[in-house]
């Protein structure tokens, strides 16, 4: 099997290298063929692994590929851990990546950077696979940073645009803030376990909890809690949790296929995956779980509200992604790791679908992204419309669709949780359902229904996108509808993740939820009677219908009526304002101060050149002594001699 695992990561890497270095030689078609074949091989192999692990019940693979370095008794290695979680993740990553590769042929058709783009997305696939297949913290960090870098390159893909190169720098730096915490978390773990290997570290989790570390003077904290919170700061960066979420909406400056692949389906879920993978650590730290829960809940609710006031089609979907990442994080905090991963999977399908559908609209309208200049597109783009509708229904949790199962199970699990903050989180995720439905249907209505607000030229050229664009939409729509129905039972209530996650008995909320579970159909029926979520979603849809189709003048009036609240939302709670003016401004100011005062005035001016001037000044004085007159020298000798004799006498 080991060669299969190697093949899974090497195929996209090799394709990326070929397309990147020899792009001109192999041409545009060559570039997309080589990368698509690379990812297709990887996908096929991951299906083999999935079958091997899930159906044939193969044992967990945990092995080393090569030794990176050995220092003292710390072995640093590159290696793979393949269990149910890995098998699921590589399949999802490769499936979405493959769909995006195909879609890109259509979306980037006229772009001069065609080969470069394919090289990047294959490289991204490689990095993401390295991340999810890792069996140690070193490789995890490699994958973690590597996906960040490819994201940086892709957000800034159109490097002539000032907004794009602002956004990519911002994304990288905000992620680096998270990585800063992540690295400290890794350092804490290495210090106290002497290992980077997951299995070894997990085996010592309880011991870690017993050891303490003094971060603030006089305060002893459990090493485990400190390590888990530091690791979670990394997750907050990558999975865009408040307050490190600010980079994700701006990342929409990148081409749409990567918004779907990286900023919805895969990279941003790395944080979720990581916490789930680290469940044997997080489980022993109540404090860390509470932090996760509260941050996630805050993100889920607050960023969802922002989606309501956005007019850029991609930004609405981006805020939706933020909010859904918050949902996944809440699940992790409630120890329902499986529910978090389950939502990650369904979300990967329907959110990639929504992004690609948005992209289909954008290319049909020649790169128009403002929803105020759309409307009524349903009849021009039927396939895009129907797939977008499926994506929307899945997102809002329409009974029976994939998102319904994952979101409902998640809400139930939070409801059952007793971790500190669970009550707050429950209300956030519940009200979030209403918000989700509101912004989702707002988007759907503004784009596909109602009056046509297009300009006449756009309307003249308007038609359904080509097959390379709509085929991936259909391919993603299928699992968006069905995957929840078939997988909820084994994933959440079965033994699927038994080999990859640890849940302590007192935290096992999914077990509680599962006791009432009597099959997918019953779960759907149960939702109508026992869950508020479904009615909240319906209410959201109705409100959206009233506001954006029935009485389109209402939203403006509401905005004027509640101007302060509206301003708060439009300004995104002033996070960006604070970061740009206060943080970045202070940093640059301090830099200028240290340079002009510290380096130039004090060190160079006063000390270095000052001592040079000092020597010059001293010489100027001393020079006068050498007057050249003999009687001056004789006089000096006499004085000196007298002083010497006087000193000898006095001393004597």
């Amino acid at each position: 099997m080991e060669s299969i695992y190697l093949g899974i990561v090497i195929a996209p890497l090799a394709a990326a290298i070929v397309a990147g270095l020899f792009g001109r030689t192999i041409g545009r078609a060559g570039a997309h063929w080589v990368t698509i074949v690379g990812v297709a091989i990887s996908f096929a192999l991951s299906l083999v692994v999935l079958k091997d692990i899930v159906i044939d019940g193969a044992a967990v693979f945990n092995g080393t590929v090569y030794q990176w370095a050995v220092i003292g008794d710390i072995r640093m290695e590159i290696g793979f851990l393949v269990d149910h979680l890995t098998a699921l993740m590589i399949t999802v990553v490769n499936f979405v990546s493959l769909a995006v590769h195909v879609y890109t042929i259509g979306y980037m058709r006229d772009d001069p950077g065609y080969q470069r783009f394919f090289s990047y997305i294959s490289l991204f696939t490689f990095a993401m696979l390295m991340l999810v297949m890792s069996n140690n913290f070193l490789q995890l960090f490699f994958g973690w940073e590597a996906v960040g870098v490819v994201s940086y390159l892709l957000i800034g893909f159109w490097f002539k645009r000032p907004t794009a190169i602002f956004a990519n720098l911002k994304a990288f730096l905000v992620n680096r803030v998270g990585d800063f915490g992540f690295l400290l978390g890794i350092a804490a773990i290495v210090l106290h376990t002497g290992s980077l290997d997951y299995a070894t570290v997990f085996g010592r989790a309880e011991l870690l909890d017993a050891e303490s570390i003094e971060v603030l003077a006089g305060r002893q904290w459990s090493v485990l809690t400190v390590a888990c919170i530091c690791l979670f700061i990394g997750a907050m960066g990558k999975s865009a949790q408040v307050p490190l979420h600010v980079w994700l909406p701006d990342s929409m400056e990148g081409p749409t296929p990567i918004s779907a692949l990286i900023h919805a389906a895969t990279m941003v879920t790395a944080g979720i995956f990581m916490v789930a993978r680290m469940s044997p650590l997080f489980e022993y730290s109540e404090a860390a779980l509470s932090v996760v829960l509260i941050i996630g809940a805050t993100t889920a609710f607050l960023t969802g509200l922002l989606g309501i006031v956005q007019n850029d089609i991609k930004r609405v979907v981006a805020y939706s992604t933020l909010s859904q990442l918050g949902y996944m994080t809440v699940a992790l905090g409630a120890s329902a790791y499986a529910a978090g991963i389950f939502h990650l999977m369904t979300h990967a399908f329907f959110k990639a679908l929504l992004f690609l559908a948005a992209g289909s609209v954008i290319i049909a309208l020649h790169h128009e992204q403002d929803m105020r200049r759309m409307g009524g597109l349903r009849k021009y783009m039927p396939i895009t419309y129907w797939t977008a509708l499926i994506g929307t229904l899945a997102l809002v949790g329409f009974p029976g669709m994939s998102g319904f199962f994952s979101k409902d199970a998640l809400i139930e699990a939070v409801h059952a949780s007793t971790t500190f903050g669970a009550g707050f989180a429950y209300w956030c995720v519940l009200l979030g359902v209403f918000v989700t439905a509101l912004y989702s249907f707002r988007l759907l209505f503004l784009v596909f229904h109602g009056e046509e607000r297009l300009d006449s030229e756009a309307r003249a050229h308007l038609h359904e996108s080509p097959a390379v664009v709509w085929a991936p939409l259909v391919a993603l729509a299928v699992p968006s509808v069905f995957i929840g129905w078939f997988t909820i039972e084994p994933l959440l209530f079965g033994e699927f993740f038994a080999d990859s996650m640890l849940v302590l008995e007192e935290h096992d909320v999914l077990h509680e939820v599962g006791e009432e579970f009597e099959g997918s159909a019953a779960f759907v029926l149960h939702a109508f009677t026992a869950s508020a979520a479904i009615w909240l979603a319906l209410a959201g849809a109705i409100v959206a219908w009233v506001l954006y189709l029935l009485r389109p003048e209402l939203p403006g009036r509401i905005a004027r009526r509640f101007a302060p609240a509206h301003r708060l939302l439009v300004n995104k709670y002033y996070f960006d304002w604070f970061n740009e003016n206060v943080l970045a401004g202070a940093t640059r100011g301090l830099g200028r101060l240290l340079w002009s005062v510290g380096d130039r005035t004090v060190i160079d001016g006063a000390i270095v050149n000052g001592s040079a001037r000092g020597v010059a000044a001293l010489s100027a004085i001393v020079r006068r002594v050498q007057s050249g007159y003999l009687y001056h020298y004789a006089f000096a000798m006499v004085i000196g001699l007298a002083a010497l004799i006087g000193w000898l006498i006095l001393r004597g």
Binding site: F180, V190, V608
Partner: protein, 502 residues
């Protein structure tokens, strides 16, 4: 057959320098080829040092010893261990690259230019090989001369100010070191560095000796606050001079700490470790802020070098606190290894970045960030290299820049949480100043007519940047060969340093 590999690697480039000088600039083409041939041959010799090196074998390798100055009981004694061998390899690797980089660019007195670099190479290798303190001192001081000439003759407009500053700064530092060396000679009766290691010294003696060495080495590294000569020297130096200065000359300071300060004055090192750690952290944080606001690319990279060298000194002196706080030596080994890997890696990355600035300078004759913008539009291949080296400078995993920082941060976490916290800020700041520069220089719309007329890298430039890119990636993906080569030596050093001389 016995081959004095170390002598060859010292005297071959020096003889080559003489040959190139004799050829003269009238036969510039031939002079270039001879310079390249000699530097490549030296590199081959250096590779043999790596091949013939037994990582498990403690102590010095390839030792040569013959009487030199009998009156002072001074020997011509050479040898390398896991600390010096990689540095020699780095020196011998970069010199051919510098020769190629100056191939067409240097039109005034080309023979003298290449001769100066060959001479410098031989002397630098001599510094790393010398096991006799007097011999070491001779190489150490002689090294200043070719560098002085390189900046003073082929430098920019303010080259005289820069050279004088460079010379006075480093020369002043060395004088104190000489006093310390003579004092120890009087104690030990010989100039053998290895004998100095075993020399029993009282605490006061150790402190004074340590401070004398500190002045010499801190200037070279350079450590805050004796760093201000570096930005000036870099800005005025020709590209090749900047590359060697950043890649090898700065490493002399770090090498000095490992070869002299730590083993000769272990107790003083321990009691003054707080000072060294403090200065290192100031270098990492303070300099990061300063780097952020630079408008000159070479200055920015120079400041970035100071911050990255802060990791080296941090790694070397954090070991005492690390050992005190943990039961095993793993943390201290991480810190030492990290400092060493950081030196090698910084040599490759800063060298590459200075070459990149040189490529642009050769075309537009400006180092100002504001004079560029949108270079990626006209120089796509070059832009790819710059982005790669910038990311390596920002410590991206998979490049060599990550390895050293990672080790040092892990090692210093053993000493204290806040120490690691402060050091790790380089993750954010290092990325900020490097990538912000990339944003303003490489990305964006074409900034002006000058940028619009730029031609992408030629074959010669592609070759040297490509070689450096491959080595930066190789070291990042698989640092084990380097780490393994240094392991035994550093382990021995650690054991030695942890044993009090009092």
């Amino acid at each position: 057959m016995y081959v004095p590999l170390l002598s060859i690697s010292i005297w071959l480039p020096i003889a080559g320098a003489v040959a190139v000088l004799l050829l003269g600039s009238r036969r510039a083409e031939l002079a270039r080829w001879v310079a390249l041939g000699v530097s490549l041959m030296t590199f081959v010799v250096a590779i043999h040092l790596y091949i013939g090196f037994y990582p498990d074998h403690a102590g010095m390798h390839f030792v040569e010893r013959m009487p030199w100055i009998g009156a002072f009981n001074s020997f011509y004694e050479l040898g390398v261990d896991g600390i010096s061998m990689p540095l020699i390899l780095l020196t011998a690797f970069l010199t051919p690259i510098v020769v190629i980089a100056g191939w067409e660019v240097i039109q005034t007195r080309p023979a003298q230019y290449f001769a100066a670099f060959l001479l410098l190479e031989g002397l630098m290798i001599g510094v790393f090989c010398a096991l006799d303190a007097l011999l070491f001192y001779v190489f150490w001081e002689a090294m200043l001369v070719p560098m002085f000439i390189i900046i003073g003759v082929w430098g920019g407009e303010r080259r005289i100010y820069a050279t004088v500053k460079f010379f006075l700064y480093t020369f002043l530092g060395s004088v104190f070191m000489l006093v310390a060396l003579i004092y120890m000679y009087l104690q030990a009766g010989s100039y053998s560095i290895l004998a100095f290691h075993e020399l029993p010294l009282g605490m006061n003696e150790q402190i004074l000796i340590f401070l004398a060495f500190l002045i010499a080495f801190a200037v070279k590294v350079p450590m805050w606050p004796v760093h201000t000569w570096l930005p000036d020297a870099h800005v005025e130096a020709p590209t090749g001079g900047s590359v060697i200065l950043a890649a090898v000359l700065l490493k002399m300071g770090g090498y000095g700490f490992l070869r002299f300060s730590l083993p000769i004055t272990p107790d003083a090192s321990q009691s003054l470790a707080w000072l060294m750690i403090g200065l290192s952290l100031i270098a990492i944080v303070y300099i990061a802020f300063v780097a952020l606001v630079q408008k000159d690319m070479k200055k920015l990279i120079a400041y970035s070098s100071i911050a990255h060298m802060g990791f080296v000194t941090l790694g070397f002196f954090v070991i005492f606190a690390t050992i005190a706080n943990s039961q095993d030596e793993a943390g201290a080994m991480l810190a030492l290894q990290g400092g060493m890997v950081q030196m090698i890696s910084h040599g490759l990355i800063s060298g590459a970045l200075f070459l990149c600035v040189g490529v642009m300078y050769d075309r537009l004759h400006s180092r100002e960030i504001g004079a560029y913008g949108g270079v990626a539009n006209t120089m796509p291949k070059f832009a790819a290299f710059v982005v790669l080296f910038a990311l390596a400078n920002a410590g991206l995993p998979g490049t060599s820049g990550f390895v050293g920082e990672f080790f040092v941060i892990l090692g210093s976490f053993h000493a204290s949480f806040w120490l690691a916290f402060t050091a790790a800020t380089i993750l954010v700041f290092g990325a900020a100043y490097t990538l912000w520069m990339v944003k303003r220089v490489i990305f964006g719309e074409v900034g002006n007519d000058g940028v619009a007329a730029l031609e992408d890298v030629g074959r010669r430039e592609f070759l040297i940047l490509g070689i450096l890119a491959v080595s930066v990636l190789a070291l990042g993906v698989w640092p084990d060969p380097l780490v393994e080569a240094m392991d035994t030596t550093l382990r021995e050093l650690l054991a030695h340093v942890m044993e009090s001389k009092l």
